[in-house]
């Protein structure tokens, strides 16, 4: 029955949920269908599943919005069993935990002999995660979703989706190109077969590019690398979700019972302990730190350790220091007003702060968005990018539309479908109003307004025909119109060209004009956020009526 050993079952569970996570992340992409002619395009899989399982995201969403966005109620599936059984989620389900588990099990110079055993003893600094959690929860209550900087799924999707996978795609494509362009027929054949196989599994249709990709990936590798010093440093010291689950497992009815009569202090239970919760004899067990990985039970040669329902033994709680906890709470309470006392969206909007279609007004947006990057991963035009400073420090890694990289596709609403928290409120193509039911009384969603830089525009500055922007403009009637004008070329000869103008009342700010503009570096037409329909204040026209 080796295959049914509890630690084996845990391993199977970890592999299953990690594979599921990876599959859903890889499918957070519109891949198109050559056999379906469906008009309303939606992803067939619940790609945001893991965010819906995350009680921390649900708590933050509830505190920030005084409501719970649809789907987040699912997190009760994790929350309620944790109340009874402890942090099984960390040891059995969490894909980030499983990654740490794997790398923490590898041999390391820093973890040998006594050092290794010592590194797995309970340490006071493991309480850091509770203070961090206190800070982000208070921040959520004050209307800031910065919990996403530390939430394990946000961290994972942002790192893997925006950095590791695009890098992998680039590497694989380069490798396939090498094979397919080889002078030997057989190598070419292998390349073509691999291309077909990988194309169906992982390759992107177009190479995705993400701003800050290098840093997001480097941060991920650094956090993983910490495992070579201390197993699961992230889970033990940083993860605010682990902290939340640890706190609520205080009254769990499942506990570790140590038979001190049998224990001969061999310390083998410490070797592969994941949580750093002191399963050894002679000291109290730290219940909130335990991931229920069951390694200690399996390792103990004397069978002195057992998990039992309604244990009689005393266990150690989170044992928080009041002063540090208060510091954490105060940090969360102070950091939000601090971040908001810079001009930001209240006083001086960044003109390029273009939010995805369906986004709620900026204040609500910053409260709900958990900086997870799902919307950026799914965008078929690679248009959504993690913000650096455009939305202030608080808006770090929130999504912005960068039209020069990609415009907002007329009928596409995928970002609103995958957003787990309602920062991008779920809309239909009809509600977006750019492609379906055009010309109906409904007002379209607007992301901003386009402007011309006449000093760079070909018909205005260089007596050359162009108006590609007008060709691409998706509104109907078009927001970009033109007037024939007589201009003079360099030799003084008169010439007729069509000069473009913009009707701000019709522009939806999709950015197609900016993307299509042939002035390759700094385009002659560009979109700024003014006129975005989500904001009441960020407007130009007194009465921006239906286009």
């Amino acid at each position: 029955m080796r295959f049914l050993k509890p630690t084996r079952l845990r391993l199977y569970s970890q592999i299953f949920f990690f594979a599921l996570f990876l599959l859903l992340l890889l499918r957070t992409e519109f891949r198109g269908s050559l056999t379906s002619s469906g008009q309303e395009i939606r992803l067939p899989y619940p790609v945001g599943l893991f965010f819906r399982l995350d009680p921390l995201v649900a708590a933050s969403n509830a505190l920030a919005s005084h409501a719970l966005y649809k789907g987040l109620l699912v997190s009760l599936i994790i929350l309620i069993p944790t109340l009874f059984f402890g942090r099984f989620f960390c040891g059995w389900i969490c894909p980030l935990g499983s990654i740490h588990h794997f790398f923490g099990s590898l041999k390391s110079e820093r973890k040998r002999g006594k050092q290794w055993v010592d590194s797995n003893r309970y340490k006071r600094w493991q309480n850091t995660k509770y203070y961090l959690m206190a800070a982000v929860v208070v921040a959520a209550a004050l209307g800031s979703g910065i919990v996403g900087w530390l939430d394990p799924f946000s961290f994972l999707v942002r790192s893997i989706g925006l950095s590791i996978l695009p890098g992998t795609n680039y590497g694989l494509q380069a490798f396939l190109r090498l094979l397919e362009q080889s002078p030997w027929g057989m190598v070419q054949g292998i390349g073509a077969a691999l291309h077909f196989l990988l194309g169906a599994l992982v390759l992107n249709f177009k190479q995705p590019y993400f701003r800050q990709g290098v840093w997001l990936g480097a941060l991920f590798v650094f956090i993983i690398g910490l495992n070579f010093r201390i197993t699961r440093f992230w889970c033990r010291a940083i993860c605010p979700l682990g902290a939340l689950l640890g706190l609520i497992s205080r009254w769990s009815v499942l506990g570790l019972v140590k038979d001190s009569a049998k224990c001969n202090d061999c310390n083998r239970c410490l070797l592969r302990c994941q949580g750093g919760d002191d399963p050894i004899g002679g000291v109290a067990w730290h219940q909130p730190e335990c991931h229920l990985c069951l390694n200690c039970v399996g390792e103990c040669p004397e069978h002195a350790l057992q998990f039992k329902l309604f244990p009689a033994q005393q266990t150690e709680g989170a044992n928080l220091q009041r002063r540090k906890l208060l510091t954490g709470l105060a940090t969360g309470a102070a950091v939000v007003p601090l971040m908001r006392s810079t001009p930001g969206f209240a006083a001086e909007r960044d003109e390029r702060l273009l939010r995805p279609p369906g986004s709620v007004d900026e204040g609500f947006f910053l409260a709900r968005c958990i900086r997870c990057g799902e919307c950026m991963k799914v965008c078929p035009n690679n248009a959504l990018q993690p913000a650096l400073s455009q939305a202030g420090l608080e808006g770090l890694w929130t999504p912005i539309l960068v039209p020069r990289i990609g415009y907002c596709e007329t009928s596409c609403v995928l970002c609103s479908q995958v957003c787990p928290t309602g920062a991008i409120w779920e809309i239909t193509a009809k509600e977006k109003g750019w492609s379906v039911d055009v010309g109906s009384a409904r007002k379209p969603i607007r992301l901003g307004t386009a402007f011309y830089d006449r000093g760079r525009c070909l018909p205005w500055a260089m007596a050359t025909d162009c108006i590609v922007c007008e060709e691409w403009c998706p509104t109907s009637p078009k927001a970009i119109y033109f007037r024939p004008a007589e201009v003079f070329d360099a030799d003084g000869n008169p010439k007729q060209v069509k000069q473009p103008y913009l009707d701000a009342a019709k522009c939806v700010g999709c950015g197609a004009c900016e993307k299509a503009c042939p002035v390759q570096d700094r385009p002659a037409v560009y979109v700024t956020s003014v006129g975005e329909s989500r904001s009441r204040s960020n407007q130009i026209l007194l009465n921006r009526t239906k286009g």
């Binding site: 198109g32 002619s37 055009v438 060709e471 691409w472 109907s476």
Partner: protein
């Protein structure tokens, strides 16, 4: 590697044999590095992208004085129109031979539905595919280099599903399949071309008639923008010259202009159903210039003089803009 416990004291010396081997190793590496360096330095040249050369050009068939050169067919069912239109010109067997690889090039440029008339009618595309296969074509490819996101265009236009069901190979414009090709044009020299368009036996151009602000209308010749990658947004600067260069490069077997739904305003993207005219007509011709001239005149009342590219193409010998002089068959089903 094992590390000796204590280093030997300085008295030990290398044997002659070991010293010789060391010298030879160093000399070999040095000679190799020098050889490689000299070879590489001789290869040095300004970096340039490779240009594909083996490109089949001209897909037209021999004229047949007994058969009409253009057919205009009107009726309710788009598939039936497609069938009848080709029939009027002598049937698909005249254009497609057994074993041919045929490429059907509809307009799949925009993320729009068939009713919005920004892309070719999917039923017409499917019927052309079926006819090619019935005439013994080995493979029928359907592709386009879309303007909007390609996968959305292929799906929402309904063309991918319809063509696939009819037996065609639908090919998405995979960014890794573009080749730098010498187009031999007057303004277009080398350009990125989607490689599915290269090296096929027959090409059927299947555009939809739409309004276009710069040229007044976009028809058959403008449809060739859809073979290109690269910065094709620069082509508008010399739109007439580049259209003629492309038409000269492509030389289709047959041109079928889909006027079943015609986008009269706000083209080529459209979107508003009020801009669509239900014309229920298909215009087919072996002459790519005449067919554009005919549709421009009959729908937009544009004379050849207001579409300079027609005259330029005629002068280049690609066809005639005086469609009145052709043998035209007009039929209503």
């Amino acid at each position: 590697m094992t590390i000796p416990e204590k280093m030997e004291s300085g008295t030990a010396t290398l044997s002659r044999r070991e010293a010789l081997i060391r010298l030879l190793r160093a000399a070999g590496l040095g000679a190799g590095a020098a050889g490689l360096g000299v070879w590489l330095s001789q290869r040095s040249s300004h970096p340039q992208e490779a240009i594909a050369s083996s490109v089949k050009r001209g897909h037209s068939i021999a004229p047949n004085p007994a058969l009409p050169e253009m057919a205009v067919v009107e009726g309710d069912d788009p598939a039936q129109l497609a069938r009848q239109a080709v029939e009027e010109l002598g049937g698909m067997n005249r254009f497609v031979s057994r074993g041919d690889v045929v490429l059907v090039k509809p307009n799949i440029g925009w993320d729009r539905t068939p009713e919005q008339a920004a892309n070719t009618n999917p039923s017409v595309v499917a019927e052309m595919v079926r006819q090619c296969l019935q005439s013994g074509a080995k493979r029928v490819l359907v592709t386009d280099v879309s303007c909007n996101e390609a996968r959305r265009c292929f799906q929402r236009s309904g063309i991918a599903a319809a063509a696939q069901a009819a037996g065609a190979e639908v090919i998405l414009p995979d960014p890794s399949r573009f080749k730098e090709v010498d187009l031999n044009g007057e303004v277009l020299t080398t350009w990125q071309v989607f490689d599915a368009f290269l090296n096929v036996d027959k090409i059927i151009n299947l555009p939809i008639a739409k309004h276009h602000a710069l040229t007044g209308t976009t028809l058959g010749m403008k449809n060739w923008y859809g073979i290109l990658g690269g910065s094709r947004n620069q082509l508008h600067q010399k739109i007439h010259e580049s259209l003629v260069d492309l038409a000269d490069f492509m030389r289709p077997t047959l041109t079928v202009v889909d006027c079943y739904r015609v986008l009269l305003r706000n083209g080529p993207t459209g979107g508003n159903l009020e801009d669509v005219l239900l014309k229920k007509t298909l215009v087919v011709s072996t002459d790519p210039v005449a067919v554009d001239a005919y549709v421009a005149k009959s729908i937009w009342n544009l004379d050849a003089s207001s579409l300079p590219y027609l005259g330029m193409a005629a002068r280049r010998g690609l066809g005639t803009m005086e469609f009145e002089k052709l043998r035209i068959r007009i039929k209503t089903i």
